[in-house]
């Protein structure tokens, strides 16, 4: 049995997922604050005397669209966090020497759906960004969110890997009954 503490690759990957999860949570908090501030500004609740450099020249519609784009980004980051958690759970099963279990097939399927939904959210955010750029002079707001083909490719690969794990689990169960 392979111990996770003795395998440098698994140890590195595990800590990588922990670091990614912390980073994603931090970005979500920052983006959440920015989204709330933008939404408040879009609704016109800006206190007197507050200097909103950069976004004060934007109209409320553009700021509302920006808040929507941030909300979509926030949701995508939430999905990414769940993705990273599932990846770590799979890495843990590899470390325990038992990766071909039905749970990992389910986890990979979840990861594939998370990737797919995340990509769809990014498309919507990209549409928001395009609308914002069309309705502002472009100097005050810079939103770059594009459609990634590699994301969709990753989703397909994960769906296939989930099948591979499901089949591997079935084959192992058969082998276990072989003497």
């Amino acid at each position: 049995m392979k111990s996770i503490s003795k395998d440098p690759l698994l140890t590195f990957a595990r800590w990588g997922t922990v670091a990614a999860q912390i980073f994603l949570i931090f970005v979500q908090v920052v983006l959440g604050i920015a989204m709330a501030a933008t939404a408040i500004a879009a609704l016109g609740f800006v206190p007197d005397g507050v200097d909103l450099e950069g976004i004060d020249a934007l109209d409320n519609g553009v700021m509302a669209a920006a808040a929507l784009a941030m909300a979509l980004g926030l949701a995508a980051l939430g999905l990414a966090t769940r993705f990273v958690v599932r990846l770590r759970q799979i890495i843990d099963t590899v470390g325990q020497g038992d990766p071909f279990v039905a749970e990992n097939a389910v986890r990979l399927t979840h990861m594939a759906w998370l990737t797919l939904v995340g990509q769809c959210l990014m498309i919507l955010a990209g549409i928001c960004g395009g609308w914002i750029n069309a309705h502002s002079d472009g100097d005050n707001f810079d939103l770059e969110m594009g459609v990634s083909l590699s994301g969709f490719l990753l989703s397909i690969i994960l769906f296939i890997l989930a099948r591979v794990f499901r089949e591997g689990t079935r084959m192992r169960a058969e082998l276990e009954g072989t003497v």
């Binding site: 058969e174 276990e176 009954g177 072989t178 003497v179």
Partner: protein, 81 residues
């Protein structure tokens, strides 16, 4: 009578217990002679095995001086389950 192993639609009977009894041999002795773990032989003897390798069959037949048909039987008309 041997132990029954259920397959999808048939009933395979493993007669290892009878063969061991006839040869006055224990499962532990057989396990040592055929170099198969006692746990695996026990699975075979109790009819819990889903499949048997030719190498296992060959080793058991060699040590017990029997034919595969002496070890395995097919019970017609049996109700799997």
């Amino acid at each position: 009578m041997g132990t029954e192993t259920d397959t999808e639609a048939t009933r395979i009977v493993v007669k290892l217990d009878d063969l061991l009894h006839a040869r006055r041999m224990t499962l532990t002795q057989l396990a040592e002679q055929v170099d198969i773990t006692l746990a695996n032989l026990s699975i075979l003897k109790t009819g819990k095995a889903k499949a048997i390798r030719f190498s296992t069959l060959e080793a058991i037949c060699r040590e017990l001086d029997c034919q595969p048909g002496d070890l395995l039987g097919y019970q017609e008309g049996g109700e799997p389950g």
